[in-house]
Amino acid sequence: MDISTEQIDNTTVVRMSGNLDTNTSGPAHQKIDALIEEGNTHLLVNLRQVPFVSSAGLRILLATAKRLNGTEGSLKITDLNETVNEVFEISGFNTILNVFSTEEDALKDG
């Protein structure tokens, strides 16, 4: 799991690469938490390079969303592939997280 970041205006774009699963979710969670500690409270997680997300990955996304909501921050998720989109639908996460089809769409929004 590789994670790169880019600051666009007040949004921190987090681009993940690799599966978000049992083994990678822990390190990914730490990386995101570190970003929040540094004061980055508006996160955009781009999943374009993530082949699949398992329930372990969903858990860290949920935990992050909860944490940011409590600090006036925000979490946006973009670029879900077919499988990941299905995971979001099956789990109902598409209704509780802010999901956008592309980074551009997400940046335009609010």
Binding site: D21, T22, F52, V53, S54, S55, R59, L62, T83, I90
Partner: protein
């Protein structure tokens, strides 16, 4: 009281019309009416008829009072060209009555023979003659039944009818009870059988087919077939003594014991010995079961079997030779405790076919009562070359039906056939077997290996990725929660088996952790704190939704999870 003679007392040349009884006052009135009618028909003279009727009434009263079987016999006789009506008063008459008759008729024939007196009174007929229709009418008059007679008859008929209805009801309810018990027994029996074929479509190593036709009344046949693990197929055919619910329950117990024992025991001899010990204890009703059980090693073709008093099966070799697996290894199951059964083995080559049956086949009878017989079955099999197990079953069943014709089926008819195809792995690299240790970090390697194999076989990503998620979820579950009761550093192996039968991806995951069905209820609190436990069931929820079919089974010391996903990637669930 005198006993009137019961034989007819009419003169020989007389054509008898019947007899009018004089047994009570009502019958005297009846006799009067009948004689009046007869005389009217024969003589056509109403005055004569009335007078004659009066005489009959007076004399009849005396006859009825004095005699036990008093009667008036009626007949026709001829004198010259004219027929005459003949009335014979049968029974003893007192002097007054005799005088009365004598005054009326002028002449009386008397006969004091037999046990009493009888008197004959002849009445001259007019010239009209008697045709057949008149004759019929006369007879009808004589035989007419009185209202009381009719009533009595109806009452008798009624009570007879009621009685037989009662009897019918009683026998019906007893019969119904018996039938319904037999029906329940049959329902239990049939509900225990694996009935859907092909039974193991994902097992390319063999195909199996079985059929059971229950007889109307007798019969306790059963069969079973199941995979013990990925390489061992267990199958058996048996026949329980007795019928109805007790036999069905005995069958259920036997079947359950076999399956549970076979889960961690690959020896038919040992399985039968165990099942026998369990069923023989406290078997008060002395029920027993004949059983032929075998375990086929799908990789090597080795067939190990044990026979407890059952018909030996036939082994039809691919080359056309046929042999009989006629070794016997002990008595019927359940009869006596503590028997150690033996076992033998044979090696099946690809395209060899096994044919198992119960005695209902060879003892099927035709309408004349002759048996289908062992010879006929053997000849039929010897001449045949069945491309599939189902063909062997169907062909012989058809032949038995043809033989039986309209005769009724005497016993259950059960046939099972197993055709060995040889190990699948030899046919091509369509299988992937992976082993991992109970280490979370090993999950990624499993997914990588699977993806490499999947790409080689052109499995689309919309099948691959959902499978990646399912493996991540299930393996995480097993590694995290499956072994926590034991020493932390104890190593366990988890085996994964990937196959591609019939445009379907089938994955089997076997672990030796605690018994746990991931698709059942939530795991009981195992060894983690509440904070560390996963959000309830989300992972399994994903698995169930992504896969077309999921299945869990506990096999001996192993949890076995099987996942099915169709290769078109569409979700059926």
């Amino acid at each position: 009281m005198n006993q009137a003679p019961s034989r007819s007392l009419l003169p020989r040349e007389t054509f008898a019309l019947g007899s009018i009884p004089l047994v009570e006052s009502d019958s005297v009135l009846e006799a009067r009416r009948k004689v009046h009618s007869l005389a009217s028909v024969v003589a056509g003279d109403s005055l004569l008829s009335t007078r004659l009727a009066t005489v009959v009434s007076e004399v009849g009263k005396t006859l009825q009072r004095l005699n036990n079987q008093a009667r008036i016999e009626v007949g026709l006789c001829a004198r010259g060209n004219l027929p005459r009506l003949l009335l014979s008063f049968v029974g003893e008459l007192d002097a007054r009555s005799l005088g009365y008759l004598q005054n009326f008729f002028g002449h009386l024939d008397e006969d004091a023979s037999s046990s009493g007196l009888y008197h004959r009174v002849n009445v001259e007929l007019t010239s009209t003659g008697v045709d057949n229709a008149t004759l019929g009418r006369l007879r009808q008059i004589v035989e007419q039944k009185t209202r009381d007679q009719l009533l009595e008859e109806i009452q008798t008929k009624n009570s007879e009818l009621e009685e037989s209805l009662e009897t019918l009801k009683r026998t019906r309810s007893a019969k119904d009870r018996m039938e319904s018990e037999l029906n329940i027994g049959r329902d239990i029996q049939m509900s225990m059988l694996p009935l859907s074929f092909p039974a193991f479509p994902e097992q390319g190593e063999f195909d199996v087919h079985a059929t059971l036709y229950p007889a109307q009344e007798v019969g306790g046949d059963f069969y079973d077939m199941f995979m013990i693990d990925l390489d061992h197929f267990c199958f058996c055919v048996g026949d329980v003594s007795g019928k109805g619910v007790p036999a069905a329950l005995f069958m259920a117990v036997t079947k359950t014991l076999i399956k549970s024992r076979a889960a961690n025991d690959l020896s038919p001899a040992s399985i039968l010995s165990h099942v026998n010990s369990e069923t023989a204890v406290g078997n008060d009703s002395a029920m027993f079961v004949t059983l032929w059980l075998a375990i086929l090693n799908l990789q090597t073709g080795e067939l190990v079997y044990s026979n407890a008093g059952h018909n030996p099966p036939y082994l039809m070799r691919a080359g056309g030779d046929m042999e009989r697996l006629d070794k016997r290894h002990g008595p019927v199951i359940g009869a006596m405790e503590g028997i150690a059964y033996g076992e033998d083995s044979a090696t099946l080559a690809p395209a060899d076919l096994l044919y198992l049956y119960t005695d209902g086949v060879t003892e099927a009878m035709d309408i004349e009562g002759s048996l289908y017989g062992e010879d006929r079955l053997r000849d039929r099999l010897a001449d045949a070359d069945y491309p599939a197990a189902q063909d062997a079953v169907q062909d012989t069943v058809d032949d038995v039906w043809r033989f039986q014709g309209d005769a009724s089926q005497a016993d259950d008819i059960t046939i099972m056939s197993v055709r060995y195809h040889g190990p699948v792995t030899q046919e091509g690299d369509t299988e992937l077997i992976l082993t991992m240790h109970n280490d979370i970090t090993a999950i990624s390697a499993v997914n990588d290996d699977f993806n490499g194999w999947a790409e080689k076989h052109g499995i689309p990503t919309n099948v691959q990725r959902p499978m990646n998620i399912c493996l991540d979820e299930l393996l995480n579950n097993i590694v995290s929660y499956g072994f926590c009761d034991e020493a932390v550093d104890e190593q366990h192996e988890i085996e994964l088996h990937f196959r591609l039968p019939d445009s379907e991806l089938v994955v089997t995951i076997v672990d030796d952790g605690k018994p746990f069905n991931p698709f059942g209820n939530e795991p009981p609190d195992t060894c983690l704190s509440v904070e560390d436990r996963p959000i309830g069931g989300l992972g399994v929820h994903l698995v169930k939704n992504f896969m077309d079919k999921v299945h869990y089974e506990r096999h001996g010391e192993n949890n076995v999870v099987t996942l099915h996903k169709h290769l078109d990637g569409e979700n059926e669930a």
